[in-house]
């Protein structure tokens, strides 16, 4: 069922304020889930469950948060993602804006990719498919 970006953002905001116990006004498009909104490991799973319910979509394992990228020595060397790794990441996360991560592919900064906007972009691909 097609939705506008604003409609998706509004619902994503609801999910995040509930899942992360944060205030409405903290959920801005650029807010990073971990760094700014305090999201921890379990919260990503909670958010996945709640997005599925809120939008009536299925989020298969690895589709929102790609897996097996960090354990592959072709993709990660000395704590940084290689060009091969970045290419793989781009193909798996075509919905996301990876420019900041590409500029500094330090794998410790990987979670910073996940902003509210990233979630909105992902949901847009699912509801407007």
């Amino acid at each position: 069922m097609p939705m506008t970006k604003d409609e998706v953002f509004a619902k994503v905001k609801e999910v995040l304020t509930t899942a992360l116990a944060v205030d409405d006004d903290e959920v801005t498009p650029e807010a990073r889930l971990s760094e700014d909104l305090g999201a921890e490991s379990i919260d990503y799973l909670d958010i996945t469950f709640q997005l599925e319910k809120a939008f009536g979509i299925k989020i298969p394992k690895g589709e929102l948060i790609p897996e097996n990228l960090f354990t592959n020595p072709e993709f990660v060397q000395n704590g940084k993602m290689t060009p091969a790794g970045l290419a793989e990441l781009k193909s798996k996360m075509s919905f996301a804006d990876l420019s900041k991560f590409e500029a500094d592919p330090d794998i410790n900064k990987f979670r910073d990719i996940f902003t509210v906007d990233t979630l909105v972009a992902y949901v847009m691909t699912k509801v407007n498919a």
Binding site: L20, A21, G38, E40, I42, D43
Partner: protein, 144 residues
């Protein structure tokens, strides 16, 4: 406030056999108690019962094992006469074991039943005594 975890805590035998760790709800209870002591200090021990009304966003980050110390920090968002709000955090060294938001309510039995005011007194007196043991700063006597 700090909580030492020790094998002398018998329930650890069940949690878990072969892998003793502080149960998550005990971390939560430590946080609730820390916040409650702050309420008592702020309101001058004005209530016999301080209990949890609501906990939100409680997330567990790491295990706490015997031999380790859990340090709870409770930041008051608001403390009024009958209720209070807190942001709490529990650390083991550099690791965050628990984070949560708590809402407590402060009660006196006399408010629902005038006949129970002496029970309020019993509870409050016991809590004042407990506070004494926490805050004693006298030097430990030498053994000679």
């Amino acid at each position: 406030m700090a909580k030492n975890v020790t094998m002398a805590e018998e329930y650890l035998g069940d949690h878990f056999p072969g892998f003793p760790v502080l149960p998550g709800v005990m971390m939560l209870e430590a946080a609730i108690q820390t916040a409650a002591w702050l309420v008592r200090q702020t309101t001058g021990f004005g209530h016999s019962l301080i209990v949890l009304k609501e906990a939100r966003g409680v997330r567990y980050g790491s295990f706490v094992a015997p031999g380790q110390t859990l340090t709870i920090t409770a930041d008051a968002v608001e403390i009024s006469a009958s209720r209070s709000d807190f942001k709490v955090k529990g650390m083991v060294g550099e690791s965050q074991a628990i984070t949560a938001r708590l809402e407590l309510v402060h009660l006196n039995l006399v408010d629902t039943d005038a006949a129970l005011s002496n029970i309020d007194t019993i509870a409050i007196t016991a809590q004042k005594e407990r506070w004494q043991t926490f805050t004693q700063r006298s030097a430990v006597p030498a053994l000679g």
